[in-house]
């Protein structure tokens, strides 16, 4: 076909442009929807509890992702420091995902359970109290602000519409579940039944009487990277 012909016919050129661009899409995007290695099923993944979801929203609000990644790459120096490399399945309920692209601070993909909640409280208040060379800002308002969770069910419904498998009972009991996780020694059987026994129950902010933004953020951090049971995990062929 002469170049002349293509150049002088807009419909023909449009069709050819679409064809050329589609090849890139077909080859690079379509396989992600069916290849086993990218939609690997793993044991243990669950949607975030209401408290963790609020914590994640605070994580976004404060822009934590600007300095912290949540993506352990398959390199020796990273796996020795942070633990098993991240799996695609581990961000399946993140909308948007929090992989990040810059590490001013350390990666947080497996920070859950690494430090005590007491450590997180002190660290959020003033990171330099614990890590003298830290450049992380202070977040003193987190423990002062009461958590506003009137809209928690609504937020879960939004997540549901974009594919997070929250059940009707999870949404119905959102407020009760949130309070059960944040208030120590409260009735938490229903919460654990809905979200699994591994849900961390703690007095996340060190203040048993109030539910603060710090409660939510620390609950989120204490869960990160702990959901998949790696003792029962074998990597698929990649």
């Amino acid at each position: 076909m002469k170049h002349d012909t293509i150049e002088k016919s807009i419909p023909l050129m449009s069709i050819l442009v679409v064809l050329v661009i589609s090849i890139g899409g077909l080859v690079e995007i379509v396989p992600l929807f069916y290849l086993d290695s990218v939609i690997e099923k793993v044991e243990g993944m669950r949607p975030y509890t209401p408290l963790e979801l609020k914590g994640r929203d605070i994580y976004l609000r404060e822009g934590c992702y600007n300095c912290h990644s949540q993506m352990i790459r398959p390199f020796r120096d990273e796996t020795e420091r942070y633990g098993h490399y991240s799996l695609a399945a581990e961000s399946q309920y993140d909308h948007p995902f929090q992989w990040g692209s810059k590490r001013t601070g350390p990666d947080l993909a497996r920070v859950g359970g690494k430090y005590s909640s007491l450590w997180h409280q002190e660290h959020m208040r003033r990171p330099r109290n614990l890590v003298p060379e830290s450049v992380m800002p202070n977040y003193p308002w987190l423990e002062k602000n009461s958590l506003d969770y009137a809209d928690i069910a609504k937020r879960m419904e939004v997540m549901q519409t974009i594919g997070v498998p929250y059940s009707a009972s999870m949404i119905q009991n959102a407020v009760a579940d949130l309070e059960a996780q944040a208030i120590p020694d409260s009735e938490s059987d229903a919460l654990l039944e809905r979200y699994g026994d591994k849900v961390v129950l703690d007095d996340f902010d060190g203040d048993a009487k109030r539910i603060t933004e710090l409660d939510a953020l620390v609950a989120y951090l204490q869960m990160l990277g702990t959901l998949v049971d790696f003792s029962a995990y074998t990597a698929q062929e990649r």
Binding site: V27, P74, R76, W119, E122, L130, V131, R238
Partner: protein, 304 residues
């Protein structure tokens, strides 16, 4: 005289030729260096497809003849590192802490490893280099709660420790009133030669060695479970009750801080990283625990 332009083929397109100055589009050939580089990249791509993972297929993707993947590369890197460490690790596993500490070459190796383990797992609480923070003991002095010998440090890391300072104020489920807690506070202040009310401290002393039973853990003279005695008998060293006379404070030595410690109690927890592991942090293998024990021992000068 200007160079004559070489005659070049045009694309055949012509615009604006009404006034006799037709606008034509030259069909210049691409520079040779560019063209051959371009062909070379195409050849490179084809070679790459053959050797490396490249194209998706309906059920997977082409793996390439080299069988390379970044996950395999990771496994190989770890295996190589392990193999290089093996001669040392085998020796460390066999030898006791004391034997290792007497072999300079092995000790050097263990301390380097221990430093990395410490930085990743211990430094968040105990600070970089073990400098400590409020509630988290400093490890760079020779003031120990549970002992600074290699064996004691190893046990602390392996099995963890739990502080057991009870609350004393009635409001916090203790059995003493505000005035009594104040008296105790004054007595504790007096132990470290801080300004205090002598009369109150006198009453506090009676409580300390009597009804409140502080001496059962801190000793009759308040110098802690490692050094102190109660009525001439050595105290249970594993209690971890601090020396109150040395001016070194875990939760602060001000009147207010001491008062809080007595009133509400303090239950600091050193998690177990080895045999007593309870799900906090990452469980460390026995070798890492040995290494980090040796490292911590050197931080304090290893004087015990």
């Amino acid at each position: 005289m200007a160079d004559e332009k070489k005659p070049v083929e045009t694309t055949g397109h012509q615009w604006d030729d009404d006034e006799g100055y037709p606008l034509k589009e030259y069909n210049n050939p691409l520079p040779k260096w560019w063209l051959y580089t371009f062909y070379a990249t195409i050849v490179w791509a084809v070679i790459y497809w053959v050797f490396f993972p490249a194209w998706p297929t309906l059920s997977g993707f082409t793996k390439g003849t080299l069988g390379w993947s970044q996950y395999k590369q990771l496994d190989e890197e770890i295996a190589t590192a392990k193999a290089a460490q093996k001669p040392f690790d085998d020796q460390l596993a066999k030898m006791s802490l004391k034997e290792i500490s007497q072999d300079p070459r092995l000790l050097q190796y263990a301390i380097s490893g221990g430093k990395a383990v410490f930085g990743d797992n211990c430094a968040p609480c105990h600070g970089s280099g073990g400098i400590g923070a409020k509630g988290f003991p400093t490890l760079v002095d020779d003031d120990w709660l549970y002992g600074g010998s290699l064996a004691a440090i190893h046990e602390t890391i392996d099995s963890g420790r739990t502080g057991a300072m009870p609350a004393h104020l009635e409001a916090h489920d203790g059995s003493f009133n505000t005035a009594q807690v104040e008296n105790l506070t004054d007595y504790v202040l007096s132990l470290s030669n801080q300004p205090h009310d002598a009369a109150q401290a006198f009453k506090g002393k009676a409580l300390f060695n009597g009804e409140a039973g502080c001496n059962g853990c801190h000793g009759d003279l308040g110098n802690g479970s490692l050094k102190g005695t109660m009525e001439g008998e050595a105290l249970e060293a594993s209690v971890g009750a601090p020396n109150l006379t040395d001016g070194i404070w875990l939760y602060g030595g001000s009147r207010k801080a001491i008062n809080q410690s007595i009133a509400k109690g303090r239950n600091g927890k050193m998690p177990a990283w080895g045999s007593g592991f309870e799900g906090f942090g990452r469980k460390l293998d026995p070798l890492s625990i040995k290494e980090v024990s040796l490292y911590v021992h050197t931080l304090s000068g290893g004087s015990f």
